[in-house]
């Protein structure tokens, strides 16, 4: 049933858009791209044969992104079809892109605490003061962030 499908996978939509955005730098195009992946998965029933949907969806979005980038290059010669699509995903910045996906997958409060520590470089004490919560709560949220990161890394077959 389509409504079941949309319900089951809609939580991946936001994180996938963030991931695509990290690669292609355009949010409207990232959203279009991820929506296309969702449509394709439904029509071609791709997720039925797949054990871990999250892993398939992320890879499908990644390939769509690199397709998109290739087409956006001003000079696409016959030779460019030669290059392996995987070469364009330099493994150097892959952690950064997966980081984007993981961050977007965190619950709102967890993400807030996580970004304050990671991006703004605030200490736990500073975070606790700014959000008017206890340091223990901050620690709890950071533990949760680790827990979710590990789960996603496992799903994506990165460990």
């Amino acid at each position: 049933m389509m409504s079941d499908y949309l319900q089951s996978y809609k939580d991946y939509y936001g994180p996938l858009c963030n991931y695509a955005f990290a690669i292609i730098q355009s949010l409207p195009d990232a959203e279009d791209l991820v929506q296309d992946v969702f449509v394709d998965c439904y029509i071609n029933q791709r997720l039925k044969e797949v054990k871990i949907a999250e892993r398939y969806l992320l890879r499908a979005v990644k390939f769509s992104c690199y397709d998109y980038l290739k087409k956006r290059e001003s000079q696409v010669s016959l030779d460019s079809i030669n290059s392996d699509i995987r070469d364009t995903s330099s493994s150097d910045d892959e952690p950064a892109k997966v980081y984007t996906y993981i961050t977007a997958s965190l619950p709102v409060k967890t993400r807030q605490v996580f970004l304050m520590h990671r991006e703004r470089g605030l200490t736990y004490k500073q975070i606790a003061e700014e959000l008017n919560i206890s340091i223990k709560t901050v620690e709890g949220q950071m533990s949760r962030a680790i827990k979710i990161s590990r789960r996603i890394l496992k799903n994506l077959d990165l460990i």
Binding site: Y13, A96, E139, R150, L153
Partner: protein
């Protein structure tokens, strides 16, 4: 008792006590790869701001797009092509869905499923497609983004893709993708494989499941199968037989005969045993009926044939 996650976050933030550090370092020894990834994620500098998106609206868009590609009617047409049923209700559906280009408001993809004749159509970029009877194709009215794509769901289609270096042309099939720039080639989508024969230009085949790719030059052919992709060694002249309505066999072995028949008549052809008898068949058939060809090949090569559910089964005469 705090979990390892709690210890890890302290460790990564540089806040763990010596006791906690010991526990973590023990865990790191047991899970080196996982720690490496966590560390990269924890410490790689990044400047990509978090983007908030409207999920409900997005899901509505997805739903709308799924509905306008009408997967149900597409599936029904394919099933009908496969069965040789003569029920009146079925004929009504055949007539109403054949040769129709469905044109709905806000429809993204148009579908062509012609059952009776060979049909030629032109896409918005000037690409010419010749679609064989009993074949099914989906294509958009216009190509909006930086690429052009269509979906060939079953049967044979001959493409003459207009050159556009900025917008590669991609054909999705149930088995994989065919990518071109400007070229002419034939795509056959069967039950379990997609076969491509290149006339001019260069074409790339991709199996999305296995990530294999090959490139085909003129007069070369390749097959996308569930297990991967293969370049066909002996390229039969019969790849375009449905267009010329002529089948030519020159010292053809059983495998080539079976493949040519499958592609020409768009139905699976199987042999009763795994070992194929060594056959060399010579013959030219103009506008052949299936039964006619099977009779001739049968007599010449000592083979029997049976047609069941639009599948042809060949076997040796005992």
């Amino acid at each position: 008792m705090e979990s390892i996650n709690s210890h890890l976050q302290k460790y990564l933030s540089g806040k763990s006590s010596s006791e906690e550090t010991q526990i973590v370092e023990k865990w790191i020894k047991a899970n080196p790869k996982e720690f490496e990834h966590l560390q990269q994620i924890w410490q790689t500098p990044t400047s990509v701001p978090f983007q908030d998106v409207d999920v409900s609206q997005a899901m509505l868009n997805v739903e709308k797009e799924i509905n306008t590609t009408s997967p149900k009617s597409k599936r029904n047409v394919r099933l009908l092509i496969k069965r040789t049923v003569a029920a009146a209700a079925v004929i009504t559906v055949l007539i109403s869905s054949s040769l129709l280009i469905q044109n709905q408001n806000q429809k993204k993809m148009q579908s062509v499923s012609n059952l009776e004749i060979v049909q030629d159509l032109e896409l918005s970029d000037g690409t010419q497609i010749s679609l064989n009877k009993g074949s099914s194709l989906l294509y958009p009215k216009s190509f909006s983004r930086g690429y052009r794509y269509v979906e060939l769901l079953s049967g044979n289609a001959f493409f003459e893709v207009s050159k556009d270096p900025n917008k590669p042309f991609v054909i999705h099939t149930p088995h994989g993708q065919v990518k071109v720039l400007g070229t002419s080639f034939n795509v056959y989508v069967g039950e379990d494989k997609t076969q491509v024969y290149v006339k001019t230009g260069k074409v790339e085949l991709e199996n999305e499941q296995t990530n294999e790719k090959i490139q085909l030059l003129p007069e070369k052919a390749g097959s996308i199968l569930p297990a991967g992709i293969i370049m066909l060694k002996d390229v039969s002249k019969n790849f375009l037989s449905w267009k010329t309505d002529c089948l030519k066999f020159e010292n053809a072995g059983l495998k080539e005969i079976m493949e040519s028949l499958e592609r020409h008549y768009q139905c699976p052809v199987r042999f009763a045993t795994a070992n194929y008898p060594p056959i060399q068949f010579n013959g030219v058939f103009e506008a052949p009926q299936l039964s006619e060809i099977l009779e001739v090949i049968g007599i010449t090569c000592h083979l029997e044939y049976k047609i069941l559910n639009k599948e042809i089964l060949l076997s040796q005469i005992q």
